[in-house]
C-alpha cells in the first residue's frame, strides 16, 4: 500500500469513528425521549440504519457474485465474501437490537412476527454462505458455488419478504418522528453507512492478500507480505 493510500484509509477511519461517536452522543444527550416507549426507543436509531446497511452489504455480495460469474476474476469473489461477512455481522446486530427492543415492548424475546422471521431467514441465508465456503477445497469451485449462492440468496430476499407477509403482524409499520429524531436518524444512518463501507473495504483488503498468498502471486509490495500477514490475520 502506498503512503497516500494509507493516509487516506487512516483519515477515513478517523472521520467515520468520530462521526459514529458523535451520533451516539447525540442519540443519548440531545434527542428527546419517546413518549410511549421511553429510553428503550433510542435503540431504534441504531436498529434501522443497520438494517438498511445489511441490505446494502447483501447487494454488494450480489453484484460481486454476478461479476464473478461474468468475468471469473478472483477479486470479485473476495469482494463478495467480504461484504457477506459484514452483512452477517450487521444482521446479527439487527436481530439482537430487535430482540432487546421486542423484549421491552412485547415482553418476549422472540415472536414469529413477519419482520423478525424475515431478519432471521436473511441471517441464515448469509451465515450459510459463509459456512459452506471452507467445505469446498478447490478455489475455483468455491468461488463458483459462492457466486451462484450469492445470486440466488439475494433473489430470495424479496421472496422471503413477501412470504412472511402472509403471517400475522404486530410490528410497527410507521412511526411518527419529531424533527430532532429525524435528524438523529439521518446522522446515525450516515455514520453507520460509512462504517459499513469501511468494514467491507478492510475485509476486502485482507481477502485480497489472502488469495494472493494462496495463489502464490506477486503482491504490489511483495517484501512486506510475510511481515504484515500474521498481524493482519490476528
Amino acid at each position: 500500500m502506498t503512503k497516500l493510500k494509507k493516509t487516506l484509509m487512516t483519515g477515513y477511519w478517523l472521520v467515520t469513528l468520530a462521526l459514529f461517536a458523535f451520533a451516539i452522543a447525540v442519540v443519548f444527550a440531545w434527542t428527546p425521549i419517546e413518549a410511549t416507549m421511553g429510553p428503550v426507543q433510542k435503540i431504534f436509531y441504531l436498529h434501522l440504519p443497520i438494517a438498511i446497511n445489511t441490505f446494502l452489504a447483501c447487494l454488494v455480495t450480489f453484484i460481486a457474485s454476478v461479476g464473478y460469474l461474468w468475468q471469473r476474476r478472483q477479486f470479485w469473489d473476495d469482494l463478495a465474501v467480504s461484504s457477506a461477512k459484514v452483512a452477517v455481522l450487521l444482521c446479527s446486530i439487527v436481530l439482537l437490537t430487535g430482540m432487546i427492543w421486542g423484549h421491552s415492548a412485547w415482553g418476549r424475546w422472540w415472536t414469529w412476527s413477519p419482520r423478525l422471521t424475515f431478519s432471521l431467514v436473511l441471517w441464515l441465508l448469509y451465515v450459510a454462505y459463509l459456512v459452506i465456503r471452507p467445505s469446498i477445497e478447490s478455489r475455483e469451485r468455491r468461488a463458483l458455488v459462492s457466486a451462484v449462492y450469492g445470486i440466488v440468496a439475494f433473489l430470495d430476499v424479496p421472496l422471503v419478504y413477501l412470504s412472511v407477509k402472509l403471517m400475522p403482524d404486530i410490528h410497527p409499520t410507521s412511526i411518527q418522528l419529531a424533527p430532532e429524531m429525524k435528524l438523529t436518524l439521518l446522522l446515525c444512518f450516515v455514520s453507520v453507512t460509512l462504517l459499513t463501507v469501511g468494514l467491507i473495504a478492510a475485509r476486502y483488503r485482507l481477502h485480497r492478500i489472502e488469495s494472493a498468498v494462496g495463489a502464490g502471486l506477486d503482491l504490489p509490495t511483495p517484501t512486506k507480505v510475510p511481515i504484515t500477514q500474521p498481524g493482519d490475520a490476528a
Partner: protein
C-alpha cells in the same frame, strides 16, 4: 421448439430408465422419508400427533431431506465414468440438460410424496378430505421451486467430499420462503377453510418462475465435468 422438447424428453427418459432399473435412489429416499415421519411422530408424542396440525411441518421435513438426496443422486449418476463430459459434448443446449435433470428430480420427488404423504396422513390423522386438490396444488408449487433450486446447486456443488451436508446447507435456507408460504397457505386452507389463491400462491409461483429462469441462465456457466 419441437426439437428442444424431444431432447428434454430423451434426457429425462434416460434418467428415469436408469432409476427404474437400479431403483437406487427411490428406495433410499422413500425409506428415509418414512423414517423421518416415524421419528417425528414418536418425538411429538400422542397428544400432538392427534391434532394433525403438525403434519405439514412433518411432511416438509421429509420432503426437504428426501429431495436433497434425490438431487444429489441424479447428478452423481452423471459423474460416474465421465458421463457428464459426454453429455456436455452432445450437440444440445446446456439449458436442455438443466430441464432434463429438473424434470427427473421432480418426478422422483412426486414419487416420494406419493408414498410419504399417505403414511404421514395415517400416522398424524391429518384430514385432507376438506381440500385434497388445494393440498396437491400447494405442494406441487413448492416442489417445482425446490427442485429448480436443488437441481442448480447439485450441479454447482460437485466433486467435493462433503457434498452430502453441503447441498442441504445450501438448498435449505434458500427454500425457506417456500416452506413459509406453503405452511401459511395450508393453515388458511385447513384451519380457516379459505380457498387456495391470493398472495400465498403468487409467492409460490414467483419463486418457481424466478428460480427456473435464473437456473436456466446460470446453469450454462457453471456446468463443469
Amino acid at each position: 421448439m419441437m426439437q428442444v422438447i424431444q431432447q428434454i424428453a430423451l434426457l429425462t427418459g434416460k434418467d428415469l430408465r436408469v432409476e427404474a432399473r437400479s431403483r437406487q435412489t427411490l428406495g433410499l429416499v422413500v425409506v428415509l422419508g418414512i423414517l423421518i415421519v416415524v421419528v417425528l411422530g414418536l418425538g411429538l408424542g400422542p397428544q400432538q400427533v392427534a391434532s394433525g396440525q403438525a403434519a405439514t411441518a412433518v411432511l416438509w421435513v421429509a420432503y426437504l431431506f428426501g429431495g436433497v438426496l434425490c438431487f444429489e443422486k441424479t447428478m452423481a449418476v452423471e459423474r460416474h465414468d465421465g458421463a457428464l463430459a459426454g453429455l456436455m459434448l452432445a450437440p444440445i443446449d446446456r439449458g436442455v440438460i438443466y430441464a432434463g435433470k429438473f424434470i427427473s428430480n421432480l418426478v422422483l420427488m412426486v414419487a416420494l410424496a406419493l408414498v410419504v404423504t399417505p403414511v404421514a396422513v395415517v400416522m398424524f390423522g391429518f384430514d385432507l378430505s376438506a381440500a385434497p386438490w388445494g393440498f396437491a396444488l400447494i405442494m406441487a408449487g413448492g416442489f417445482v421451486g425446490f427442485a429448480a433450486v436443488g437441481t442448480l446447486f447439485a450441479a454447482a456443488v460437485s466433486s467435493s467430499r462433503l457434498q452430502g451436508g453441503l447441498l442441504a446447507m445450501v438448498v435449505f435456507p434458500v427454500s425457506l420462503p417456500l416452506v413459509i408460504a406453503s405452511t401459511q397457505m395450508m393453515l388458511h386452507l385447513f384451519r380457516d377453510g379459505e380457498p387456495v389463491g391470493g398472495a400465498g400462491l403468487a409467492v409460490l409461483l414467483a419463486f418457481d418462475a424466478i428460480y427456473l429462469v435464473v437456473s436456466w441462465l446460470v446453469f450454462e456457466v457453471i456446468l463443469e465435468p
